[in-house]
Each structure stands twice: as C-alpha cells, then as structure tokens.
Symmetry: C2
Subunit: 553 residues, 2 copies
C-alpha cells in the first residue's frame, strides 16, 4: 500500500453546486459533503443533479464516514442518495443534523442511519484520519471548516466561509484555531472560490440591519421580505427589526416554515413570544403591524412570492401599499425570471426594494481579502481552489499568486474526477477519471437516466414522428397503409395533407423491399426510418426524431 | 371618422426586443420599427420571435409606410416578414438601409420592395403625418429619433438613444432640433426605457478608448476582441488602436464580417489601407502584430470565440499568450453560458479582460440623467415609456415623476396591444387587444406554430408514448397485442418488462369495451389513452404525453 493521500473531487469543481470531495489514504476513505447541483436541464423534467455515487462502488469497503461542513443543499442535498448506497456514519453540527434529519425522514431512511453530532473544537478519530471541526462563518449557521490530520500532513478544508467577526447568531469564525494549524504546518488548503472574483471583504451578516431599519421605518403598509430560506441570520434580523417596529412576522412557503421551525426548536433563532404568527392571525392585524417572510426570491413559480405577485396565495395578493424586499442575490440563470417577477410586482403598484439599490443582502462567501485572511492564517504549502466555476477557480489562483506570493507550482487547479496525490512533499494530479452526474426528476426522489434526458432534448428541438407499419406475417404484404403520428413537428399537422402524401411514399418504399428484407425487422425498420426522414426533410425542412414500429399480424 | 390619434405597440413593451409601434389617425397608419425578439424557447427549436403581423390584417389598406429608427435586430429583424405581408415603402437612414438590404436579399425579396433613404433633418410627408428624422446617438451608427406631426399634436419617438456628445463616428445627438420641437409644443414623448434603472449618465462611445490603449500596450501576444457585430463605433476604435500599436485586424465570424463590409462600403468605417487582413495573411504575421475581432460575446456555441476557446476555428485556437477582451455586456439569460466560456478561456491559460474589471464596454441606452436631458429638451405633455421590461418602464415612470416633476396622470404606462388614444388634450388607453407573437424556427426563415412549440414543451418535460391498437374491421377484435413506443419517459425502457405488462393491461382494457364503443374511434382512442395514462402513472409516477392510434384492418 502506497504512502500517499488522494484527494478526489466528485463535484463542485468547475460548477456551482454538487460539492463532494473524497479523501483517501490506503484503504480508508472519507467523503466530505454530499451536495446537490442545479442543472440547466429543468425544462426536461430534471429537478436537481447529484454526484455520480456509482463511481464510489469500487471503494465500497473503504468508505468510513461522511463529514458535512454545513447544511446548504449544495453540500447536504445528496445525502439521502449516498446513504441509500453506502450506509456509513455521518458527522455534522447540531443544526446541520437538524436539516439532515428532516431530509432523511422525507426519504424514509431516518431510522436506518447513524448520525454523529459534533461541536466546534471537537476532534474525532476516524481510522488514520483525525478531524477537528472548526467554527466557520457563512450565510448559514453552525458551519465548519475542517482540519484533517493525515499520515502525510494536515489538510484544511474551508467548507463555505467568509471572515465574519460579527455574525448575527453564534460565534465568529475561529481564526485562532486555524492559525494554530498554520503554525504547526498545513500541507494543503482546500478553499472556497465562490467569491474569488470579488475584491475587498465580504460584509458581515450584520451589515444589512441599517437598511432593514430604514425600510421598516419608511413602510406604511405591509412588508414582504423574500430571501433564501436557509439564511437563518437574515431571518433573525427580520424578527428583530419587526419587533423593534411593532410588527409581527408571518412565515409563508414550505421551506421557510420548515427552517424556521428547525432553527427555533434547536435554539438558534431567538423569537420572542407572540412574534411569530399564523396566516389567520395575520389576517386579523392591520397592514402596518405585519411582516411576511416568504420563499421565492429566485422567482420560482410555485413559491409564495410569485403566487402573491401573480394571483392569490392563501388569500393574499400583493397590494399597492406593500413594500417588497428582495433580500437575496440573483442566482445565475434566474435573471430573466426575476426581472419578470419584479415587473409583476411593479404592476401591482407596490414599492420594491432591490438588492442593487440598498444593502439588504450580503454574500456568505469569502471575497479576495477574506481569502487573504484565511490563507495567511493557514499558511499551507499547497492551495487547492474548490467550490466554483472555472472562472472563479482561476481568479482564486491568480489572486493567491499575485497577491499572496504563492508560486504557480504550489497552486493546484483540479477538476471533478481528478486524483490529486500528495506524499507530504509533492502534489500532482496522477489520474483523471470520467465523472458523470445523476439527474433526479422533478418529483425530487427518482433518478432519471441520462439517456432519457437526451431523448427529451432531441425531440424538444424538432419533434417526433412515430411510423407504424402493419405487415401480414404469411404474405409479407402491408395489411393497411402505414400510419404516421407526429407530435411537435413543424410543417406537419393533421389537416395539411402532408401525412397522406407521406403514407403513400412509405407504402411505395415498402413495396420496393424484397421478401428477405421484410423478414429482418430491425433492418426493415431502419430502412423505413431513413425513407421517412428523407421525405420529411425534403418536404418540410424538419428533422424530427423518427421511431418506426413494424408489427406482423 | 374620429379626430384622435391611436398609438398601439405590437411589441417592445414589457419585454426586451421585438420593438414595433403603430401610429394611426383615421384610415392612415404608420409602422415604426419591425424588430425581432429573443424568446426563451430556444431549446424548443425557436430561433427568434416577431410581432404578430396577423393582427395588422384588419388595417391592410391603411398602412402607408414603415419607418425604421435604426438597424439593430430588435428594430429591423422582422422587416422581411412584415414586407412579405404588406409591401409598403420603408424609410430609413443610409446605414440602416445597408443592413436592411442585406437582410431582404437573404429572404429573396430585395427586388420587390421600395426603400427610401433619408438623412438627418429630412422631413417627409406621409398622408396626414409629417415626419422629421432627427440624429440620435446610440451604440449603432446613423440612428434616428422621430418627430411626427399629427393632426392632434407632435409625437417624439426617441428610438434607442443615449446623449453622446462625442460619438466615435458621425455627429452628436441633435438636441437643438429636439429643443425646437419642445418649444413648439410636444404632445407625447415615446421614450427608450432600457437603462431607466441606471443612475447618472451613460458614457460616450469614446469612453472605452483609454482601456483599449492600456490593454494593447500591455499585451505581448495576440489580442482577441469579442463584441457585438453591430457596434460600429467599437469596431472603429479597435481598428484605430490597432493601428496605433502596429497591429493588423482580422475579422472573424459571419455577422461581424458582413457588418464591417457594409459599414466600410457605405463610408462609415475609416480603415486605413492594409489594416484589415484575411485569415491567411494573419497566419503569416507574428502574434504581437495581430488583433482578431470576433463574434461570440454571448457565448453562442457556433460563433468564432466559443469555437476558438473549445476547439479549432479556421485553424485558430486560443493560446496561453493571448489576451481576450470581452467588449460587450451580458444579455440577460446568457450568464451561465458566458461564465462557462470564460472558464474555457482561462483553462487555455489566456489573459481575459472582462467588462466588470475595466471600462471596455459602454451601453447605448439612456441612463436616468440622459432621460432627464431628453425629457427636458422635448418638454412633452405626456411621457410614454417604451422599449423595456415592465421593471424598466416602471422605473422610468418613477424617475420622471420624482425627479422631473411630471404628474402621475401625465405618465402613461402601456402594454403590447393597448390602444392609447390621444385627442390633443387627453391620453387614455381605450382598448386592449390580445397580441400574440410569431415564432421563427432555427433555420431563421420559417414560421413555427405556437401549438407545435407547446407540444414540444410538454413532451420535453415528461416524454411521449405512442399507443398502437390494431383492430379487425369485421369482428372488432384485436388483431395483435397493443404496441407501445415510448420516448424520453422515465421508468420505461425496452428491457425492463414494463412495456409487456402495459400491453397486457391495455389488451385487457380493450376487451372490456362493447362493440358499440369500438365503432366510435375517437371515443375508443380517448378511453385507451386514459387507461394507459393511469397505468403508467401508477407504475412509474411518470405522466408522459400519450398519443393513441387505432387502426382497422
């Protein structure tokens, strides 16, 4: 057995989301995070993607544990799927476990898994690995960076982080412990790149309070705040400022309600008696006594905000006197939808507060000066940018090289599926394997084959034609005219005579085949497919998918 | 006949693109602009959309002319389609006509249409309307605002504009003429809202020169500039700075080559002898002697930049020593694709200059202070925000109300299909008609039915199943087992036994119908469709489109 550590990202490199990193030494393997991705295939019935856990089958006996840095979906969302395959112990913080339990329960496997709750500064030995859980600050609460002692040296995995000295909930980032590891010597820093393109420092979670106070002071009607349901710091701020301005808070939308419930039950949210009200109670109060905290900041059509803006949600609709606060960033890909949603809200006559106009949202990720603080604290030999699109990873590299004095050879850019080998002195990518991803369909539970999605893409673009040829088994002659069913094909509809002429052409093509050709159904099908393809392309210019069916009776 | 002017937008309101506005008085109608839209339906084989010219059929005899403010696709792109229906004279500037002619030629109708070239300050009488063409500044050259005298008063239509006192090519915006109309009295200002959310002034086209000079001074290898092919000012700057730094320019990509050719032929681009070189000549020169001016700033997969970044384009591929300048804004909806493209370029090791980091792109549209200058020059009674999503139109209204002192009742927000009636005193929306849009398929020439796109959407989401039932015409009995062809359906593939069990279920369902039921094919089809739908949903959870076919032999 060789004396090297392998670091293998299954996801999260060159993409936003689906974070999952393997650490392997000898026959022991840790899995760090099991996140979901958000693929562009949503029009093809795909909800989310998860890492290719099939690729872990060869390590089945080696996997010793899953470590979760925090509870965001892009770190936790694939947990049920990996546990269904590999039922190994999970280590995570109190709050992260709260979210994980809820998710495992939905999947019906909560009773079958072993969950270990860890606290900041806890040190856990798992085989050859010794892991210290280090408090990190982020937009979510109860997050960890990890210090992982391995036989070849210490690895620091930042998780998602920013350097927030004044978080709303809980303690600041534990730079002291990170510095201690830095003094002892760190082999490699695996470091969040999400905001590596952003100069300066990321503001504290607390930075949005003044703008919220101003907005609450100005508003005369109802206030509707939309944000990420996982932003527990932000939710606390909304409750605090609401109380200050004598308003009650009604939470709308399933994920927001669930997270508020978990965070309050576990003691993270501090909500005074009577501050949290239900929808019926809300309807009894005057507009100036109300705040609605709602899902839908990304213009999801089924979420509360979109429903309130376009129709009626639980009896509520946005009105002229409302103030709508969009307290979230725009996730790339959602720009057009969000712009439309804002238009709908303007149409209602409401006042809209957007992120660009006032400081009502801050990022949870390290900007360049946060990266400087982290990297200078940890003083690693190697920097390995993780979590981000290539653009961010390269900018991370550029920053560390130009501003922190790292040699190019000590900054390692890796890709999903790369095997990065460290022996304590050198770091090199020694292997690269093809890593796929698995789609989950819009029910949120079932895997969907890549081939199925491919079929959907192709027919979405040009439509599909099914060709039915019915042949007499004895004589080999047509029993009836070939039948054609077209769906979504330009230039073909049932009224325009095209189908009739195609039927004649196909019947003609059929009669030109020999008895022998007709006996090989698969050859016959392919022949008829090509004939019909040519005919359609010539007549209409369309190139639909063609599915031939030959039946013998 | 009533003494009122009707203003009817066919497109461009509440959306980006597809600008087209009708002005009607009595039985005379002007069409201002005939633009394309860029719908989100591209995964369904849709290339662009055009206004619903079908809605103009009722005015067939009334349409007297089409006026083009400028040559951008969102103002000009639908010209061939409207002219194919209504062959009326077109009025446009020299350069706009150059682009229009090229487009009409592609559609094979250039010889059949009447094009009138107009110059700035030209005044044209068309029936009851008197139109003055006023020089406007914009990212394109040779653009107009329009002053349209009507029996009820003067309408100013800004076209797309910004207030640029120092354009690269041609004269500045003609504020003097606009002010003259303001002094004479303007009834309504139809005004570009694209940048109404942006505070301050939009920089001059010239503002990007210093950054280009710096980039050219720093670059040691080849320089690759990607931008909008219609940005003629920008193209001139690239040629000028290239000459200053002893580089030659090679233009790549069909639309960029076409526009450079037209702009040079018509005398708008000033390119010194030998500065413009072909690809073969470029291959003879050293890297530091070269600039490539390329298409693909929006990460279009078939455009030059994407090809050079991911494979080889005409023998060229991006190299480590290249400097790539992304001299364009990101059009909403393209963020993810552009971010990926930037990642590919970083992977090649090239230096990338993005818009956010240096002033290498300026907008062509009026920011709030430009809107102030325009509105104060024209001093209209009514302001009608046009060109933009609702969000921009509302912010335009907000700005004019809060900062320019207009009464709410004098700012008219309209929607596509609204009939805005002006009698010289009052302005009111008196009618609203349903306005559709027409899709053009990805060949760029053929219309594609909305129903076809709808069919594609539905089956893209959950797949499609064709059910074939073959029945004996005499006995009404099945001739063979029902056949099932599934495409893109989760949980159904040919190997998993599902199809066999569905066939049995369908055969069973068929036997339960009476002889009478079997004689009504459409009822029988619907019955079988529902049976199969239930069966699939129960067995797999999928809800594909189901197309039943019953054939009798």
């Amino acid at each position: 057995m060789s004396n090297v550590l392998e670091i293998i990202p299954l996801g999260g490199i060159g993409e936003f989301g689906m974070n999952c990193t393997l650490l392997r030494f000898g026959d022991e393997m840790l899995v760090i995070d099991a996140g979901m991705g958000f693929p562009e295939e949503s029009v093809y019935g795909v909800d989310v993607s998860i890492p290719d856990f099939e690729a872990l089958e060869e390590y089945r006996k080696d996997i010793t544990a899953i470590i979760l840095t925090h509870g965001h979906e892009d770190h936790l969302g694939a947990l049920p799927y990996i546990l269904k395959r590999f039922n190994v112990p999970v280590y995570a913080s109190h709050f992260t476990l709260g979210l994980a339990e809820s998710k495992l329960d939905e999947h019906g496997i909560l009773g079958d898994v072993l969950l270990h709750r860890v606290e900041p500064r806890d040190v856990v030995n798992i085989g050859v690995f010794t892991i210290e859980f280090i408090r990190a600050s982020h937009s979510l609460i109860d997050c960890f960076s990890l210090a992982i002692k391995t036989p070849v040296g210490t690895i620091i995995h930042t998780g998602d982080y920013k350097v927030d000295e004044t978080p709303v909930i809980g303690e600041p980032i534990d730079l002291r412990t990170l510095r201690r590891y830095g003094q002892e010597g760190v082999l490699a820093l695996l470091s969040d790149s999400t905001n590596a393109t952003v100069p300066g420092r990321t503001p504290s979670e607390r930075a949005v309070i003044p703008a919220f106070e101003e907005i609450f002071a100005e508003a005369r009607g109802r206030i509707i705040v939309s944000g990420f349901s996982s932003s527990i710091h932000r939710i606390q701020i909304v409750f605090d400022v609401a109380q200050q301005f004598n308003r009650k808070v009604c939470v709308l939308g399933r994920s927001m309600q669930k997270n508020v419930e978990i965070a309050e039950r576990l003691g993270y949210l501090d909500i005074h008696d009577g501050m949290l009200i239900g929808i019926n109670e809300a309807k009894q109060l005057s507009d100036h006594e109300l705040v609605f905290l709602v899902t839908g900041s990304q213009a999801e059509p089924r979420a509360a905000l979109y429903q309130m803006a376009t129709q009626v949600y639980k009896g509520l609709t946005i009105e002229e006197t409302d103030t709508v606060v969009l307290s979230a960033r725009i996730i790339p890909g959602n720009e057009r939808a969000i712009s439309k949603l804002i238009g709908f809200i303007y149409k209602k006559g409401a006042n809209i507060i957007e992120e660009k106009r006032r400081l009502i949202h801050v990022s949870g990720h390290a900007s360049q000066e946060d990266i400087r603080i982290m990297t200078e604290a940890v003083r690693p030999r190697f920097v390995v940018p993780i979590h981000g699109e290539y653009r961010m990873l390269f900018r991370h590299k550029e920053f560390v090289k130009n501003h922190l004095g790292f040699a190019e050879s000590n900054i390692i850019l890796i890709e999903n599926g790369d095997v990065l080998e460290l022996d304590g002195e050198r770091a090199a990518v020694v292997d690269r394997r093809e890593i796929k991803r698995t789609f989950i369909d819009d029910t949120g539970f079932e895997e969907i084959e890549y081939e199925t999605v491919r079929e959907r893409k192709k027919m979405a673009y040009e439509g599909i034609v099914t060709l039915v040829v019915t042949m007499n088994r004895e004589t080999g002659e047509l029993e009836t005219t070939p039948q054609i069913v077209a769906h979504g094909v330009r230039g073909i509809d049932e009224s325009n005579g095209f189908i009739r002429s195609a039927q004649i052409a196909l019947a003609e093509a059929f009669t030109q085949t020999s008895r022998a050709q007709r006996q090989d159904t698969s050859l016959l099908k392919e022949y008829l497919r090509l004939e019909l393809k040519r005919f359609i392309q010539k007549q209409t210019g369309s190139r639909p998918v063609i599915r031939p069916l030959v039946q013998e009776i």
